[in-house]
């Protein structure tokens, strides 16, 4: 099993903490999913506002690894400063590097992501870059020091699943030793299972669980799907073929 900066995850499910109907539902979703990682962000808090303090008290109780993000950042400077604040706030060198380049699709900015990754890796961060399945970008990110890659399945929050299976398969083949995580775009457990069947090491999702009618039940379903997908990949699936092949023996069939 590939490790994430030396850490072996107990579950290939990474779960976001946003958009749940209540803190209690969030906690129940984590409990039932068995997720091993929680993504969090940093946001403004001044004066009498204590939302962040309350949120942290909840997250601490989950007993999972914390992966802070740089969500909403568009420039290298914003992302790097946010990463530094997150490192201190959450006492972790892990950072989900998100540098957005396109407003409608929330597609990562490959150029700024690479530049920020280079700076952060040199500064001792362990970078989880939100990227696309572009082989050249991923090669450059690895050269910059990233030991994990997190290509999108589809744009954030769309629930469209894996939009470029060929590209994701090529990425897996290109980087046999790098942990790969599908980050964003998943809507259904079957899509998460598919990602795992392609040999991916984990999936990261938020909206698909938080916005389900029953978030805790959906979290449970995703937790089971990633385990099933991982088992299937390890079991070496059969090759598909175009023509039918009878599974019941032809030999010995009665002539009637």
């Amino acid at each position: 099993m590939r490790k994430f900066y030396g850490v072996e995850l107990t579950s290939p499910l990474m779960l976001g903490t946003s958009q749940y109907p209540s803190p209690a539902v969030l906690a129940e979703a984590f409990r039932r999913s068995g997720a091993s990682v929680a993504t969090v962000s940093v946001r403004r808090e001044a004066g009498g506002d204590t939302a962040g303090q309350d949120f942290w008290a909840l997250i601490e109780q989950l007993g999972v690894a914390i992966l802070p993000n740089t969500a909403g950042c568009h420039s290298v400077k914003e992302a790097v400063t946010t990463a530094h604040m997150a490192r201190e706030l959450f006492d972790t060198t892990w950072i989900k590097l998100e540098v957005i380049g396109h407003g409608d699709s929330l597609q990562p900015d490959p150029f700024n992501t690479l530049e920020a990754a280079r700076i952060l890796c040199e500064d001792g961060f362990e970078v989880f870059p939100y990227c696309t399945e572009d082989l050249v970008l991923c090669e450059r990110l690895v050269e910059a020091g990233c030991e994990v890659l997190m290509p999108w399945g589809a744009p954030i929050g769309t629930g469209l699943g894996l939009n470029n299976i060929f590209g994701l398969r090529a990425l897996r083949a290109q980087f046999p030793d790098i942990p790969l995580v599908i980050d964003a775009g998943l809507g259904l457990p079957s899509q998460a299972a598919h990602a795992m069947e392609l040999g991916y090491d984990a999936v990261l999702l938020n909206t698909a669980v938080a916005k389900a009618g029953d978030p805790a039940a959906m979290a449970d379903a995703f937790g089971k799907a990633v385990v099933a997908g991982r088992l299937a990949y390890a079991a070496d699936p059969m090759e598909p073929r175009d023509m039918a092949a009878p599974s019941t023996p032809v030999l010995g069939q009665a002539i009637l």
């Binding site: 958009q19 969090v40 946001r43 808090e45 001044a46 949120f55 993000n69 959450f90 909206t207």
Partner: protein
């Protein structure tokens, strides 16, 4: 002295970032800080002098995907 805290104009008597956090009720809270878009670690708050027009960001843990 007039500064900006999290995008809002603030009149403050604080001369250091640490004093500003006391003013904001965040002296012991789990927060991180930046001044004029540059990260200021906790260890430097006592000595980080504020100047008129500074833009201070105070952030806390929050939900994220």
């Amino acid at each position: 002295m007039k500064i900006t805290v999290n995008g809002a104009a603030v009149e403050t008597a604080a001369t250091t970032l640490a004093q500003l956090l006391v003013e904001q009720g965040k002296a012991t809270a789990k927060v991180a800080t930046a001044v004029n878009e540059a990260f200021v670690p906790t260890s430097a708050r006592d000595t980080h002098a504020l100047a008129n027009g500074d833009r201070v960001e105070i952030v806390a843990p929050r939900q994220g995907g």
